[in-house]
Every structure is written in structure tokens, then in C-alpha cells.
């Protein structure tokens, strides 16, 4: 297993948000975390990255990473594309990507710039433009590209479709499919668009007010009556 989480509890200040989650992501797999607004999806991703106070066991690549600093977890190969994208607005596209490769010392960095331009041709056209001046879709692509520049083993994606036109969303999911095939990165995907997420994922978890209420292979979850009614809309 790439990522194993057991009994994860987390919260802000005195308010508990997560009440003990168990889930896992396999090497090179895509798992998706579904749930209503405020269920605690973002908090889960933050807890994995050490950005909120958390209890429980988080094992990444066979090693316990609970209580480690965000930087250290990132250096172990966990790349986080946060809610709101977290691009460096004042820096150019190129600089954002260079920052993504900040911790890498291998000579393949140059090659990876090419690779990103292949996956995200739009970015190539904006190479020296300030990230803050990009459109929402371009920024999302930049955020994903920046994360991939880390050559991560696990990619945490927080609602990559947020606020984007359906066409762009389809593009992004197309790219994600390509990325996982070509790079073998594992993905934990938080998404409101359950149809797209379940299409991409092998496993799915349904989160309700800080608890996992349903877990299983994506194909089975798609057939689930409750899911269909509340999340897929048919």
C-alpha cells in the first residue's frame, strides 16, 4: 500500500472535524473521497500533509509520517494541490514549476519541464506570464503541473474541477488519466463531480460529517442506490 490511514482524527482548535477515518491508496491507484460540503474532505487532505493537528496513524510508503512537518512529508513524495490551488500568484509559470522541483537534485528536471508542456500545452504558451494573471482553468493546470514537478508518489487533489467550465473540467480529467498512465503516480482525489471521479478511480470512500460511511471499489459504489440518488443525480 502506498498510503494507509487508520483512525484519523483531526480538527481546528477545539472543534473536532474528523472522527476516525480508515482508508488507503494503492501504489499507482486512484482513490476518491466523496462527500457533501463540510464533510471534512479538505481537512482529511490537510491532515495527511501535517497541516492540521491530527491523531491516528498515517503510513506512507511503509513509514509512519504522522506528526511530521508539512515540508518533510512533501519531501517524502506527497504532492498536494490544495483547495484554492495555492499557486504562487506573483511568480511566473516557469518559476512556479521550478519551485515544484525545488527539492529535486536529479538531472531529469529539465526533461520534466518538457513533459509538463506536453501534458499541459496551454502552460507553454504562458511560460513567462505571472500566475496571478492566468485564467482559473490555467491556474488549476499550473497547480497540478507544479505538484507533478515534484515527481511525487502520491498526488492529493482537492476539487480540481472547482469553479471551472465543464469543457475545461473534461480536459483536466483527460490529462489526469494520461498522467496516471504515463507516470504511475497514486492519486487521492477529492471531488464534487462524482461521475468523473468514479470514472477515474479504482476505489471510493464516502465521507459524511467526519466519518466514512461507505467504502469499496469505484464500480460498486457507482451502483449504490444512495450514492446514485445523492451524488450522481440519476
Amino acid at each position: 500500500m502506498l498510503l494507509e490511514v487508520k483512525g484519523l482524527k483531526a480538527g481546528y482548535g477545539t472543534a473536532a472535524v474528523l472522527h476516525g477515518l480508515d482508508f488507503e491508496v494503492g501504489e499507482g491507484d486512484v482513490a476518491t473521497l466523496l462527500g457533501a460540503n463540510g464533510a471534512g474532505k479538505t481537512t482529511t487532505l490537510r491532515a495527511i500533509c501535517g497541516m492540521v493537528r491530527a491523531e491516528g496513524e498515517i503510513v506512507f510508503g511503509g513509514e509512519r509520517v504522522s506528526k511530521e512537518a508539512t515540508e518533510s512529508i512533501a519531501r517524502r513524495g506527497v504532492a498536494h494541490v490544495p483547495e484554492g490551488r495555492g499557486t504562487f500568484m506573483e511568480l511566473t509559470v516557469e518559476e512556479n514549476l521550478r519551485l515544484g522541483a525545488h527539492t529535486r537534485r536529479d538531472p531529469k528536471v529539465r526533461q520534466d519541464f518538457e513533459r509538463m508542456c506536453g501534458w499541459f500545452p496551454l502552460l507553454k504558451e504562458r511560460w513567462r506570464q505571472q500566475a496571478g494573471t492566468l485564467s482559473g482553468g490555467e491556474q488549476q493546470m499550473l497547480a497540478i503541473a507544479r505538484a507533478l514537478m515534484m515527481r511525487p508518489r502520491l498526488l492529493l487533489l482537492d476539487e480540481p474541477s472547482f469553479g471551472l467550465a465543464p469543457l475545461i473540467v473534461r480536459d483536466i480529467f483527460g490529462i489526469l488519466r494520461r498522467v496516471r498512465e504515463e507516470s504511475g503516480v497514486g492519486i487521492l482525489l477529492v471531488e464534487q463531480n462524482a461521475t468523473l471521479a468514479l470514472d477515474l478511480a479504482e476505489r471510493a470512500y464516502l465521507l459524511e460529517t467526519g466519518r466514512i460511511v461507505l467504502a469499496g471499489p469505484a464500480v460498486e459504489i457507482r451502483q449504490d442506490e444512495a450514492i446514485r440518488r445523492s451524488y450522481l443525480g440519476y
Binding site: A69, E71, F88, L91, H102, M150
Partner: protein, 290 residues
Amino acid sequence: MDAFLLQLAAGVATGGIYASVALAIVMIYRATHHVNFAQGEMATLSTFVALTLIQAGLPYWVAFAATLAVSFVMGTLVERLIMRPVQHAPVLTQVGVYIGMLLIIGNLTGWVFGYTTKVFPSPFEGHGPALGGLISAHQLGSVGVTLAVLLLVYLFFTQTSLGLAMRGAAYNPASAKMVGIRVGRMLALGWGLAAMIGAVAGMMVAPIVFLDPNMMLGVLLYAFAGALLGGIDNPAGAVAGGFLVGVLENLAGPYLVGTELKLTVALAIIIGVLVLRPSGLFGRIVHARV
């Protein structure tokens, strides 16, 4: 006309010093969103260290380099030991801590090195006036040194990956952590660099104004004026602003107000900028979290 050129040249020379301190202030500002009121005191302490090393018999440039190293360490220590513990504290606490540092460093300097005014050597003296008598050798040399420092800093921030990481950490610490940048280290590094830049300014201004524990207070005021004029969040702007206020000061000095009101000129520039162009010439308005 000659007198005008003379003042202009002198303005550029002092402007370089203001520009350096303004840059140090903006660097800290961008990382912490506060102005380091103790920047001047730190620079004065560095200059005293330099004087001590020179008096101990070290050649000037060796002492210069050693002072930069000491200043760097001092800057990082200040960040680690004093600023780090209060980085999430309320604004009043942070500003108060800067003031506390100003008091402690300033008075320790006086305590250790004495309050009498001291002569500080210039490495460029003995070369006579330069540029046809327009400017003294020291002024020309200090312009050269400050420009070289500014250029190095510019190259560091734009061309090296460490410089880029420091910019990223200052702009967006949360995202910087997500790509594995050790933000705390970057902050300490920034403080160290700012202290180094301040030390250069101190060593360049000391031969002109003489060295005493309050030497940098006036310089600091002009650096504030320069930083505001250029835009408090814009390093390049702050440098330009520093040069501009240096020239303004030297032109306003003899022609408008006389030399006794130099500090008031700085104050007037500061208020003038806030009234007329609060974002500075090249910056954005910053709504501090106060």
C-alpha cells in the same frame, strides 16, 4: 551648475546607502509583513564589529568580509531566537518586539563600544577626488560597492533556486511548504541577508557621518522614505526610491531648508507619499493586518 552636479553626485552616493537599507527593510517586510524598526541598530552593531576587526589589524576587505559573516549569523539568530517565537502573536506584540530589539541592540552597542563618536576608515581614501572633483573617492567607491551588492542580491533572487525558494516562501508560505521548501529556514536566511545588506550600508556611511551608536537613525528614516516611495512590497522599487530620496535630500538640503532639517525632509517625504501616492511609485497599497 557645478554646485548642482556636486549635490546630485552626493545624492547618488548617499542614495545608494538608503537604497541598501530600504532593500533590507522590504525583504523583511515581505516575509513578515512588518517593518524591522531595529534594522538601523543591527547595522550600527555590524559597523562597530568591523571597526574592532580593523583596529585589531585585519586588512579592510578581510574585516569587511568577516563583518558580513558575523552580520549574517546575527540576523539568523535574531530570527530564530526572538522573532520565531512571536511570529503568530498579535501585531502589537510583534512591533513591540522590534522596538525591544532596537533598545537592546542599541544600548548593548553603546555599552560595549562606548558612546563617543569614532572615525571609521574608508578603503577608498587617499585616492583623491574623482570624476573631476565632482565626488570624493569614498563616495564613488561606496556607490560602486552598494551597486555591486544590489546587483548580487538581484541575481541571487532571480537566478538561483535558493533565491526563488525564498521568494516563494515569502509570497505564499503555505504553498511553499507543500513543495517541500523549509520555510522557517528561508525566513532565517532572509534575516541574515538583510542584516548583511544593512552592514554594508553601515560600513559605507560610517566614514561620512562618523560612527556612534545612533548613527543609523537618520539613515533608517530615509530608508523608510525610500521604501514607501518605491512601494513597501517592491524590492526594486525600494532601491529606486532609496536613490531618489538620496538625491532629493541633497538637493533639498542646500536649496530649500538648510542642513539642520534633514530628518524633517525624510518625514515630509513619508507623509507626502502617503497623502499623494500611498502605493508608492511602483507598488501596491498594502493593507496591513492591523
